[in-house]
């Protein structure tokens, strides 16, 4: 029996706001693209595991109830499943795919995502992000938006660490610098300056408009298989999953003891690194999906890359952006890529594969062999940390 998980096929559509590009347009393009990229036949796909397309109930029904293998004519498909962990849904897709592979139920699994938010009224999107991950009794009646909730955490983070607004703003400048070099980002070719961030409209203190998420449309797909099968396929490099750890904290932020997730980042990364037989210093790239700048700082503190409270200064020193010695989040995070609902984590994994393959273009990290990726769902209810490498161990 062939075990482990490797990502052998990827496809993505550029992130943008375009209601003319339908959910199914995106879905078909990325599914066929990922299967072709993997170099296999469509009928070799044994299962389709999808992240829940948040806030899009009709698409949710299509994906949950089997339309994808039917429309694509996947004659070898034995199983379908949908997962919902908000932004971390794709992490659950990978974990479930690995279980099917490990127990011999599947050789190849297709993981497709699509999100269109540009045809949803803005007030409905605000409502969704304010009510789905937050509390309708204890938070929502007080006008708490998702940005407001993250503003509350960020303010406390800055209070405890002494990080300045300018230091925090450098995170977004660096993320946008990566994004400006990424043809799949909504901000491709659009870098911004520190002044652009600091002078943008105040949304929920201390978060300014450029530090908040831009809701957009996008999609991606991955084809995954076992380590052994991946080794036998193609001449290129694959992203081998070497270890994983997850820590759950809480559904709602105001009850969260580990408010900046440092403990969760530390423990989940230590689990993943231990399984991989690697150390955090062995990582060539850190991909952090937190969607708000403080997470890019506290993750470094939790990983043990820097001391507690120094994450913002590491970003401010320019070490995490292009040309830095500690490259982080070449995917740009949701602030740099555009927030594509449950697909942000998909974009993170696809970018990780590109980096390991050496296909990240102007964002390519030299000799990128080992990558640590952390995703989170809901209001950062959890940290899901995975170590990928260019070789199976």
């Amino acid at each position: 029996m062939s075990k482990g998980l490797a990502i052998i096929g990827i496809a993505e559509v550029p992130t943008k706001r375009d209601p003319e590009r339908t959910r199914w347009d995106i879905l078909l393009e990325v599914c066929m693209g990922a299967v072709r990229d993997a170099g296999i036949d469509k009928n070799q796909i044994n299962a389709v595991i999808s992240p829940n397309p948040m806030a899009q109930p009709e698409m949710q029904n299509d994906m949950a109830l089997g339309k994808i293998p039917e429309v694509l004519g996947l004659k070898g498909c034995r199983d379908i499943c949908i997962t919902n962990a908000g932004g971390a849904s794709n992490t659950n897709c990978l974990r479930l795919a690995q279980e099917l592979i490990d127990c011999g139920q599947a050789n190849f699994v297709l993981i497709p995502h699509t999100t269109v938010q540009s045809d949803i009224p803005p007030a409905d999107l605000i409502n969704f992000f304010a009510t789905a991950p937050l509390d309708k009794q204890w938070e929502y009646p007080f006008g708490v938006s998702f940005n407001g909730s993250m503003g509350l955490i960020t303010n406390r983070y800055m209070y405890e660490t002494g990080a300045t607004e300018a230091q925090m703003a450098t995170v977004t400048v660096a993320l946008r610098a990566w994004a400006a070099k990424d043809p799949n980002s909504i901000f491709y070719g659009k870098p911004i300056t520190l002044a652009d961030v600091l002078e943008s409209r105040m949304i929920s203190t201390p978060l300014k408009a450029k530090e908040c998420n831009f809701l957009a449309d996008g999609g991606g797909a991955m084809v995954v298989t076992s380590h052994d099968i991946a080794k036998s396929l193609g001449s290129g490099r694959h992203a081998y999953k070497l270890g994983h750890g997850t820590r759950f904290m809480s559904a709602t932020p105001f009850v969260r003891e580990d408010l900046f997730h440092r403990k969760a980042y530390r423990e989940s990364s230590q689990d993943a690194l231990k399984q991989a037989g690697l150390h955090i210093d062995d990582m060539d790239l850190r991909q952090i999906y937190g969607a708000y700048p403080y997470t890019q700082c506290s993750a470094l503190e939790g990983y043990g890359v820097c001391k507690e409270g120094e994450g913002a200064s590491v970003w401010a020193e320019g070490r995490c952006g292009p040309g830095g010695d500690l490259p982080c989040t070449t995917m740009g995070d949701a602030t740099g890529r555009g927030h594509v609902g449950s697909g942000v984590s998909m974009a993170f994994y696809i970018d990780t594969v590109r980096q390991i393959r050496g296909e990240a273009g102007a964002r390519q990290i030299n000799n990128c062999d080992n990558v640590i990726v952390t995703t989170s769902g809901g209001s950062v209810m959890n940290t899901c940390t995975t170590v990928f490498g260019s070789e199976a161990r």
Binding site: N127, A130, K136, R156, Y159, M202, S204
Partner: protein, 136 residues
């Protein structure tokens, strides 16, 4: 008072007493009579020991600001008249943290650690919300 259009709390059977309390000008904190754990919000079972032997005690209503965020935009239109909204997490001496708004306060004057006290505002005949304001 019945033209209130903003979202009302989705009240559950085990939180009815809390909302009855706010109508009477009382901030009630639920805690476990068996293990004495305070509940961060009312529950059917104690989240520590799963006991159903839960009770209520009245908070002094005096707390401190653990964090805050002044919202200037990005809320649904039904909240637009309230902008800017001072969102706050208040730590109460009874050992719980609450999400609320600070009212009667200049948004530029809010600080973490600031002393605040509860103030009740009836918004409908059925619901009175608990806000906080700088301590007098």
């Amino acid at each position: 008072m019945n033209d209130y259009i903003k979202p009302l709390p989705v009240i559950q059977p085990h939180s009815v007493e809390f909302w009855e309390g706010t109508k009477q000008g009382k901030l009630l904190i639920q805690s476990c009579n068996d293990c004495h754990a305070p509940m961060t919000y009312p529950r059917k079972f104690c989240s520590e020991c799963w006991s159903t032997n839960l009770g209520w005690r009245e908070s002094s209503g005096k707390g401190t600001v653990y964090s805050f965020s002044v919202t200037y935009e990005g809320v649904e239109p039904i909240f637009h008249d309230d902008l800017p909204i001072i969102l706050a997490w208040i730590d109460l001496p009874e050992g719980v943290r609450m999400t609320t708004n600070i009212i009667n306060c200049d948004p530029d004057k809010v600080q973490i650690g600031m002393n605040v006290e509860v103030v009740f505002k009836p918004v409908t005949d059925e619901v009175t919300l608990h806000y906080f304001q700088p301590s007098t």
